[in-house]
Point group: D2
Chain length 344, copies 4
């Protein structure tokens, strides 16, 4: 079997990671790719490292109507742009995995408050399935439209899910994110010009982050918690990889062993989430370029301190998207996701 | 006037930074330096960049008794080693600035619990002055023995001091530290071997950190707060610079403007602490290689999120030590500390 | 078919890269691994990123006699150590790919001059085949013992081979290598401690480099050139990847087009060597984590300036070793080597 | 005495370094600064690390006529722009140090060939003095107009000067430059976007480099050598610092000791050039953030291999400019240039 694939917005970092994964997936055929900045160029001219592997020419998304029907489209377009083209494809009956934020929120008021405009396709928001396999596998299996989770949200949700499932009550919840530079996109700007970024750590600005809302809605919507999450991101001079620290105030005293048990049970059958013991050093090196998310935690002064790491481009974006594709098309879930982390 | 100086443990990163500052200070004369690993070598052989500037030979600390009396000794020796030599010098009547943790805690029970042994010189602990000029200037002026603060503790204390002075009540307090690799010392080890550290972010292990206790004791001892501080450090692949995020749960609603006013007032006459407005991006670049500490904050979901940056080797160690020296010897406080941050 | 594999010295960077490649190779079975420093530990404890993928326990090489016979052993042991164990395995009739320098030189005088001792197994030196598929494929096919080339030598040989084949006469030849830190091994030392290496570029010492001899012997031995190669390496703060510049003085005037033609013809059927046009920017990014070697060149003031890039751990070591294995066992040559370069 | 200063193009990396040096120079007063991109902003808003140190507002260079007369103007404007404003200032009788390439070439044919246009101010080209103190001090002393050398040219000229003075005849000369990213300027572009540059080494394109001509003209013009210099630059992921390797083919056999003697003699009285013995490791760390240039060499296969390091922003640009200013104004030559290299 071969799944015919189209990719919208293929020449950013997410698109590039997706293509690299699909080139080593044995059941897919990339039929077309769009790019505005690089339209008319071969994909292997945009990313010369792919020379000899994919010579498909990038087309403008404005020519989307002329592109052949495919089994699945991945959209790597920016927020607020993606939804317009996703809608067109949905109407053509094509399955879609949308890596933007446009379809992640069910509560359209939240969308409106954040983006300061009405949702452009309210019907689709209701239709879409939140694509986090560990929390939502059954729904993904039959979805026509998957909203692929945000990278930060993935770290926080995977960190909290076992607690919520087991009714561990929280006081305050704080999420402190250490984020890589690729997460800010491929368009050059002064603040991420190499000499500015290298040897630097920056706060990410104090405005509200869309993924804070994504996380809160997931839990509020599932009646798991009422609390808001204090959420702050920072940029660290690495290309890839997120380390998120969640400070979870325990309303009642709990032992490390009890909680460890919940985490291990929750992720027992999951291939891509690994619970680490607290004696180990949690670090990006153990997950880079792979689809793994590693989690560890300890208790300090009444807080559960949970740390998780994943590769923002893989488990935080395109790897999770491929995982979702595999589920949707009933392929073994780790197909094409076999890469182990890169040392050094 | 020229202050005669001795330096214990001069060939680590703290010692090296100290020497570089003193070489451009117009009122000091470095008379001797100790180093175990590099004893017998000229300082300019250990750090060849200093060739032509300081050819003093490093002596073993075991020859301390043979070194001439000086006006001031800086100790950059490791924790639990420093105290033994500091005691000897103190008994010779020499003024000392100790950059180790050995004299920072007044409560010797805390010391004992942490290090699992009795304090080797309980009398000195009572004698020493905690060397943070912004909080303790008058005492430093007349001190014979200064305990130079820890780098992480400096960020947290400077972040909290204006709140405590103004009676802003806290619920939980969480301090999340992003720390550079030089802070882990100059001795090579696998985890900080370049290919392991580059592109990596790591948790720092879940054991209690001595600087958590340093911070808590300062506030408890001053009856400012009763709360413990949840304290977690991470290593980020930069040579220098700390960004600390303090999450301070506000017991009562406060406006940004009110709090900004407290911070600005508290640091109005301080040359080395700068309050940044929340619209600015807090970042290491604005303080690297200088003695500045920059602070900014905003309010989110009932928490005050305070971020501070400083150079661990300067304001977090040797720069603050020189600042203390200037105060002790009644020199203009910013003498030798005029360097502006390095761009890029 | 499944090839049973043993690996000597498996826990350095070369060994780790080899294991990661073999884990995604569909025709191999890793039966045992040796490590001195980590003996008794599971491989996934040494490299926790491999958790869930390979739990084999590392054994000491001193227990080599107790290890089962396998179809092929890779030796990633250090120079002068490797040869002793390779000899034992050879005598047991096991095929071997040796990634050390021990069997690369045919002229044992050169070995003796460099290492200042007699070759420990002169017979094997004669027996071994130099494992560069693009230059030596037929011999590798039937080899029992392959000397896997050095990473620097690979860049220089692939840069020069088309010239020598086409009789392009040289005056002077200079090779200037920009090398990554992983190439210096995984054992921590001061000069590659992160804060020392980051933001630094260093000369590598002026002593003769073994791979200079490796390159010269190959060409002298094949009567291609008589000239020595001026050879200088530098360390650059990247984890992986080599960029080598060869300055090749042209004895006679040649056009770019003529030379381009020679290069393209020489590598026409090679999957892993790509000739780039001079308008492109040669860079590590296009080959990292892949088995590709990219080459480009131009003519300046009578010199051919040839630049090549490859990943020292892949095409410069373990990837080339797997390529050799595939040839020796008559498997499709790019099996297990399908990874495309990692962006970003 | 206080020298009144104006700076053209002050908000690039060269301008920023210049301001940071002048802020710690005891005899200057910065009267005005120009910037196009940041006109109307305070200098301390453009570089917030300078807050509290320089609040001067950047003006557009189009308002140059309205700026007061000063004793000296530094121009950090781009090539081909600088000359126009330098001419205006020259006509007003103001002394100038021009950090662009516009006045470095005496032979206007070379200028025309390279830039493909006539020199806009041929008279000034004749008037200007090439500002390399070690080679040209007497002329700088009385100059009204100094052309500050290029950073690469400085490394090559300082590497070669002792050889040429002592009549050491060359065959081929190759200069291989490892250059930092700041040298490519502060304007963001894709190739120096952090995730593209980090972990990358790139060739710099094969077009002729203006500083190759600068070097050749200096020697040809002084009848020292007739040879062209094969010249190739590469970008390495460091913020600052250049390591240049010059391969100098010796026409006659020479001993290391003889040549070492020439170098040491040539630079005996120079404060900022240090000759290193070949046993030492030449490295950026020994010169970063200082005005030093370190040089070492060895002989291999008939070539003298000379390596030099300097900080492109200091000795390669603004530090050398301040050195020139000190000479022009008869101040002690190292005033304001006392910083030692930064470790780590």
């Amino acid at each position: 079997m071969s799944i015919n694939i189209g990719i919208l917005g293929s020449t950013g970092y997410t698109g590039c990671q997706l293509v690299s994964l699909l080139l080593n997936h044995n059941s897919v055929d990339i039929r077309w790719l769009t790019s505005e900045k690089f339209r008319g160029m071969k994909y292997s001219e945009v990313f010369p490292g792919f020379a000899g592997r994919i010579d498909t020419e990038c087309v403008s998304v404005s020519k989307l109507d002329e592109q052949e029907d495919v089994d699945l489209v991945f959209s790597c377009l920016p927020n607020l742009t993606s939804i317009h083209f996703v809608k067109k494809l949905y109407d053509r009956g094509i399955k879609i995995i949308d890596l933007s934020s446009d379809l992640r929120l069910k509560d359209l008021e939240l969308f409106k408050n954040y983006f300061n405009r009405e949702h452009p396709a309210p019907g689709l928001a209701g239709e879409s399935v939140y694509g986090m396999p560990e929390l939502n596998r059954a729904q993904i299996k039959t979805a026509r439209l998957v909203a692929n989770p945000g990278c930060f949200a993935t770290t926080v949700l995977l960190s909290l899910a076992p607690l919520l499932k087991n009714g561990i009550k929280a006081g305050s919840i704080v999420a402190d994110v250490k984020a890589p530079i690729s997460g800010a996109g491929r368009a050059p700007r002064l603040e991420y010009h190499f000499p500015e970024t290298n040897q630097n750590i920056t706060g990410d600005g104090f405005e509200m982050h869309i993924q804070k809302i994504e996380v809160e809605e997931f839990f509020h919507g599932n009646n798991k918690i009422k609390e808001n999450i204090v959420f702050r991101t920072h940029r660290v001079p690495v290309n890839r990889g997120i380390l998120t620290t969640v400070y979870y105030e325990l309303k009642e005293k709990r032992s490390y062993e009890e909680l460890l048990n919940y985490f291990e049970e929750f992720y027992r059958d999951e291939k891509f989430v690994r619970i680490r013991e607290k004696q180990e050093v949690i670090q990006l090196k153990n997950i880079l370029n792979s689809n793994y998310c590693d989690i560890c935690f300890d208790i300090q002064d009444g807080f559960l301190v949970i740390e998780s790491v994943l590769d923002n481009a893989v488990k935080g974006a395109s790897g999770q998207a491929v995982q979702n594709m595999n589920i949707m098309f009933d392929i073994k879930e780790d197909t094409g996701l076999g890469a182990v982390p890169v040392y050094p």
